[in-house]
């Protein structure tokens, strides 16, 4: 019984990829034993305070380069966590992160109104 459950779980976990919203998230799927190079993106972020002031956020100064790369690739879990983290500062109303990528991904903006769990994603332009 235990064996059957363990084998079934191993079969089912990779299939969860088909239901994942984030196609870049290939964990536990065996899709690749050598992850492909991520698209190069330029990331910028800004926050808006309740008093209406806007402030640019220097992403590179705040987190490790590997996280910057994840954010640049648009890994949703990391983007959402990063935006939520910026909301922890006092007086922040909303945070926005923009990824300008060279490849097919184009420019994507993630906007989080503080207090929310998940950022709203907008594809602003796409180079085809």
């Amino acid at each position: 019984m235990l064996i059957a459950a363990f084998v079934a779980l191993q079969f089912l976990i990779p299939l969860t990829y088909l239901t994942r919203e984030d196609a870049a998230d290939e964990r536990f799927t065996w899709r690749s034993l050598d992850p492909p190079a991520a698209p190069s993106c330029e990331t910028s972020a800004s926050l808006e305070r309740f008093d209406g002031q806007s402030e640019a956020i220097s992403v590179e100064k705040l987190i490790h380069q590997d996280w910057v790369d994840y954010v640049g690739q648009g890994r949703r879990a990391v983007v959402d966590a990063f935006l939520r983290k910026q909301c922890e500062a006092e007086g922040v109303m909303q945070v926005e992160l923009v990824n300008r990528c060279d490849g097919e991904r184009g420019t994507r903006a993630y906007n989080l109104r503080c207090g929310g769990e998940r950022a709203h994603e907008t594809v602003r332009t796409a180079t085809r």
Binding site: I3, F6, V7, Q10, F11, P14, E26, R27, F28, T29, W30, R31, S32, L33, D34, P35, E60, K61, L62, I63, H64, Q65, D66, W67, Y70, R75, A77, V78, A81, F82, K85
Partner: protein
């Protein structure tokens, strides 16, 4: 017996689970020290972290935590590879290793997940001594080891998905599919009623060996998988001879000691074991990386827990061998870190990132150490 029961519970040569367990544990120790520890400085930067699983999300692992977990896992793994493994120790290794990679997306190496699955299988492996796995006669001991079959099936599932995704993308998939089939049938090769399979199985090793030599992969995955393939597919007699040669010194030592016989509990064994448990983690003081001392101390505590009643009630040298294996693990960690670039890489990476973030104090601290340990 039904066919499915025969598949899972049929005989396998005990040399296979014995050697697979020790090979993976030994390699895992050096893998954590040489390939994972150098990236430890990434952890805790900016108090930001995203874990692999949501229940970890509020936890931000520091680099000391990460290195401590890796030191603990590596030393315990090597000590179990050196001397007869203990199930509790394997549970702790599986937990430590899985915690190591799963606490952060910073470690997203695909095969670390595979190793966690392997460690979970190992928990249910028979904890064989060299004498049990390699008898004195030329006949290789066999027995039913469902966990070993599960280990092979786990490997087969991994290859199956590599093949399936490749097929879905229109790429060549026959080689990983051949690996999948090979692993599914390899676990049956030691059964007396299947002599034809016994003849053919060693040839099947060509599939995984070729796949891991040809396909691009991350880290030490090819070393793990080629080593595992050699153990899983090798002819029983070869494996038996190899294992006997490999374990001869250890078996001779144990046999001599048994004959010499401390038949009643000798107090010096008890005190020597305790002294060893205290002294062994002290080796880690020379490693000079955050968290390593704590990790090694925890390994000694884990070893004490593993030995449990054995430490006091076993009327033989077994506790001393366990402590000696812990010593071996701690010494190997120290030698590996000092003889390789692992420690320099850790401090160098930390300095580069701190510089980039404009954290001058951290950069200076990292640079000072990086200069000290520069190759």
């Amino acid at each position: 017996m039904k066919p499915l029961e025969r598949y899972w519970f049929g005989d396998v040569a005990l040399a296979r689970p014995y050697l697979v367990l020790r090979f993976v544990l030994g390699l895992l120790a050096f893998d954590t020290w040489l390939n994972m520890m150098p990236h430890g400085s990434k952890y805790g930067v900016g108090a930001f972290n995203v874990a692999h699983f949501p229940w970890f999300d509020t936890f931000v692992p520091s680099s000391a935590f990460y290195l401590g977990v890796l030191a603990f896992t590596g030393v315990l793994a090597l000590s179990q590879a050196l001397y007869r493994p203990h199930r509790i120790a394997i549970v702790l290794i599986a937990a430590g290793y899985t915690l190591g990679w799963s606490c952060s997306l910073l470690d997203s190496v695909p095969y670390h997940y595979l190793l966690s699955l392997y460690l979970l299988c190992f928990v249910f492996f028979p904890m064989l001594s060299a004498r049990a796995a390699f008898s004195r006669s030329d006949r290789a001991p066999r027995g039913s080891v469902a966990a070993y079959v599960l280990f092979c099936v786990t490997t087969a599932i991994m290859y199956f998905y590599v093949a399936a995704w490749s097929a879905a993308e229109g790429q060549s998939y026959w080689l990983p599919m051949a690996c999948c089939v090979a692993y599914l049938i390899a676990s049956m090769q030691d059964r007396a009623e299947l002599p034809a399979l016994r003849m053919a199985a060693p040839l099947l090793a060509a599939a995984p060996v070729a796949f891991h030599l040809l396909a691009p992969q991350q880290g030490w995955l090819p070393i793990y998988m080629i080593g595992i393939a050699l153990v899983v597919f090798a002819p029983t007699q070869w494996l038996h001879s190899f294992g006997r040669t490999l374990t001869r010194p250890a078996r001779r030592l144990v046999e001599e000691r048994s004959e010499g016989g401390i038949d009643e509990r000798a107090s010096q064994v008890f005190y020597l074991s305790l002294l060893g448990l205290v002294v062994a983690p002290m080796v880690s003081m020379f490693v000079d990386m955050p968290g390593v001392k704590t990790g090694c101390t925890l390994t000694a505590i884990a070893m004490l827990f593993v030995m449990g009643r054995q430490l006091y009630f076993t009327p033989r040298w077994r506790p001393l061998w366990r402590v000696a294996s812990l010593f071996g693990g701690c010494l190997a960690l120290w030698i590996t870190v000092t003889a390789s670039n692992a420690r320099f890489d850790y401090y160098h990476e930390g300095a580069v990132d701190a510089d980039r973030r404009g954290d001058d104090d951290a950069a200076m601290m990292f640079r000072e150490k990086a200069d000290r340990y520069a190759p």
